[in-house]
Amino acid sequence: MKKWIAILCAGALTITACSGDNSDSDTSQRKEVVLLAYDSFTPEDGIFDAFTQDTGYTVTVVTGGDSGAVISKAILTAGNPEGDVLWGVDNTSLSRVNNADVFASYDEVNTGDICINIDTQWFASRNLPTPTTLEDLVRPDYKDLLVVQDPVSSSPGLGFLLGTIAHFGDDAWPKYWESLTKNGVLVVPDWTTAYYTNFSGSSGNGDRPLVVSYGSSPPAEVVFSDPPIDTPPTSVMESSCFRQIEYVGALRGARNSAGATALVKYLLDIEFQESMPLTLFVYPINPDARLPEVFMKFALQPTNPLTLAPDVIADNRDMWLETWREIVLS
């Protein structure tokens, strides 16, 4: 027994020594800026090279699950964060994050719309008209066709929930969700699972032709199509769109606060902002950034999306989430 302990001890210490422990790097070596984000944060390759050239800081992107997981962790580590910059907070979660004093400073970084995406070919092949309104989703014709994300952990899931609340009002939305549940809505934990496993219109070939995703997902399908296609295979239900604003900010108590500030400035600058439409599929907040052609052709930016005032969200979100869980998950 003692021999085993000795061997394991030696092995563990050796491996620890070899793999390096960079948690106690001293001040002069702080040339790394850690950007915390959710899993689907996929910036363009090499987009941070210019930043490194200008400032000398290298950017390390660390993803930690879906937006809900990243935000929960940020709240739990407020003041002693695991990174320097946080990407993943949006208008639905800003109040929660600010209550916990997570940011040293923050700014709007992009906008987008959370909308129902429709697999048009699926409906065409079955000669079914595509749904056009939220009310359509509870009709028996569209039974067992919708997949949504858990609003507790997913920001598009929460955005969709808030959209239904904005549309139906505080009194009628529970009834709507009861009907949706009866009509066979599938709830999954995050966007990646919903879009790439359950949705029939993307590469995953799932069995549900209706999914909560972004207004910019159709152009994304064109951009990533292989073999290349000219028109998107999916469309967006305009009346379901909820406006989402994403924020980025330097974390309070970050180890490299100078680097954090520099990185945030870079994320708001033209080069990164112009890369966002085709990699993150969101609209830049910087008014001088130009939009790529495929985006302008196929992305839908509704003129009248559903919105809710930030303070209304802040005051009611907890209660709404509790009610939603009671209706849908029970």
Partner: protein
């Protein structure tokens, strides 16, 4: 026998010295227990419980749905475990055959494995639409708890005299009648004991339900975690923890009262009979004896097999991804995580074994305080690891006790969780040391220190090694408290595995299976030394 005159005998001299020394040493485990267990749980209770939250939580439909699910899945797990385990228990108690020791070892192994490993193993057997749901949960629970039934009921079954059965046969009773009228009444208490233990384990199940339950199937423990971490509803989480505590306490009280009311007098055990002497049912018996361990081993074989699959192709990618750094994009540095888990486990042993030894010694040399000591040290089992983890994040969150994100806290907490099990192992061994041995040593002129070294320490070497192996395994596989406490720099193997398993249909999940297989082997190796 008194060698001396009216003075205190040498034996009680030594005992008095031991008692004083261990009383002094007991300051260490007491302070440790008070700071890292009593304070967080009491503080969380006092600061978060209020009449309003209790009313609010009890009036929410979600609470009752979760409570109902937790209860019925636990009952179903008990039933399913008994159905699978009882035939094998009978066979192992009554018969011996070539390989019976292996059969017993195989069906008992899942019990010592980490919850995420067993959950991952079950996941490999389920088709996609059943991957998150109650079926997987029940299967995993059965796998875990077969060992409990085989152990507890098997021991009792061995002490039922075969002569009674033969007498019943002579009187022309059918096997069913024999079972009902002779065997079952004598097994009743052990059946209840086993059922209660399995019920408590499955009622407070966290790792299994967290990996296999999906969104709709949650037990109270998972709901505590969701409320605390994902929703930020700390007061609801605390109320749920108290509800669970009450339920578990009631079950424990039932079990204690039942054990007090029935005196089990089974001194004799009857040796199992070789199967060769029973040609009549030999085939059925052998098939059950072979089929059950195969069924138990199947998920773990699946773990290996699925780790080499990506979609429809066989590939080493998932295993390669563990070492070549491609998992760093999801924040997992696997070699560092493995090294860290081993290191934490080592520290856990260094803390837990001395603390358990001191506690066990104290309860041996101070028989009057023994039951109180045992009750306190059993608290970490009754108050679940999840509740402890939750208590810590709401207590150690401000200076100068801003420890909740600190790496050193993890092995300290793991040791706390391992403590009851280690004490449970050490106390019988300590109590078995005959006082006359010490007495003899004293007569031969040994000082108390020498008596301790040559008698106690030497006898306790093997049980201490067992306690060390147990603490090591507990730390390696600990999931409930660790999910609250681990950060990127202190990720352990179970955390990494659960993160990877939650991404269905990708190489990441296959890497999760691979990592779970590694953890399974490590734990099995360690526990085989126990």
């Amino acid at each position: 026998m008194r060698l001396f005159s009216h003075n205190a005998s040498p034996q009680s001299d030594v005992t008095v010295v031991f008692r004083r020394v261990f009383l002094m040493l007991s300051v260490l485990p007491t302070v440790w227990f008070a700071v890292f267990f009593m304070w967080p749980t009491l503080h969380a209770f006092v600061s978060l419980m209020s009449w309003d939250t209790v009313v609010h939580t009890l009036s929410s439909r979600t609470t009752w749905t979760v409570l109902w699910f937790t209860t019925w899945q636990a009952l179903l797990s008990v039933g399913a475990t008994f159905v699978i385990a009882l035939p094998l228990t009978w066979i192992l108690a009554r018969f011996t055959f070539r390989g019976s020791r292996w059969v017993r070892a195989i069906v008992s192994t899942p019990f010592v494995l980490p919850t995420v490993v067993v959950a991952g193993a079950v996941m490999t057997l389920l088709p996609l639409q059943y991957q998150f749901g109650v079926h997987g949960i029940i299967i995993a629970h059965v796998l875990f708890n077969i060992a409990v039934v085989v152990r507890i009921v098997g021991v009792r079954w061995r002490s039922i005299s075969p002569d009674q059965m033969r007498a019943a046969q002579v009187l022309a009773a059918s096997p069913m009648r024999t079972l009902w009228h002779i065997t079952l009444p004598q097994l009743r208490v052990s059946l209840y004991s086993a059922a209660l233990i399995v019920f408590v384990f499955t009622f407070t199940s966290f790792g299994v339900v967290s990996v296999l339950g999906g969104l709709t199937r949650r037990t109270i423990e998972v709901e505590i975690y969701t409320n605390a971490i994902r929703l930020g509803f700390f007061d609801t989480a605390m109320t749920l923890a108290v509800i669970q505590l009450c339920a578990v306490a009631v079950v424990f009280a039932l079990s204690a009262s039942m054990q007090r009311h029935t005196r089990t007098t089974h001194g004799t055990t009857f040796q199992p009979v070789s199967l060769k002497d029973h040609p009549r049912h030999r085939f059925t018996i052998l098939s059950i004896a072979i089929a059950t361990p195969i069924l138990v081993a199947l998920p773990f074989i699946g773990l290996f097999v699925r780790s080499f699959r990506a979609g429809d192709t066989w590939t080493f990618n998932a295993w390669r991804a563990l070492w070549n750094g491609s998992l760093e994009q999801v924040g997992l540095d696997v070699p560092a995580i493995i090294a860290r888990s081993l290191f934490f486990a080592l520290i856990t042993v260094v803390i837990a074994v001395p603390m358990a030894y001191i506690t066990a010694s104290l309860s041996t040399y101070m028989p009057r305080g023994a039951s109180l000591i045992r009750s306190f040290t059993s608290l970490p089992i009754i108050i679940s690891a999840v509740t402890l983890g939750f208590g810590i994040i709401v207590t150690f969150d401000h200076a100068p006790f801003n420890w909740r994100g600190d790496t050193w806290l993890l092995p300290v907490i793991h040791a706390l969780i391992a403590l009851p099990l280690a004490v449970h192992l050490l106390v019988p061994a300590l109590q078995a040391i005959s006082p006359t041995q010490r007495e003899a040593a004293v007569t031969l002129g040994a000082s108390p220190m020498k008596v301790w070294w040559h008698i106690d320490a030497r006898t306790m070497r093997s049980p201490c090694a067992g306690a060390a192996a147990l603490s090591f395994a507990v730390s390696l596989g600990e999931f409930g408290a660790t999910t609250f406490l681990s950060r990127s720099s202190s990720t352990t193997l179970p955390i990494a595995i659960s993160q990877l398993l939650s991404r269905p249909g990708t190489t990441l999940q296959a890497s999760g299976f691979a990592l779970a297989a590694i953890l399974a082997i490590m734990t099995a190796v360690v526990m085989s030394r126990a």
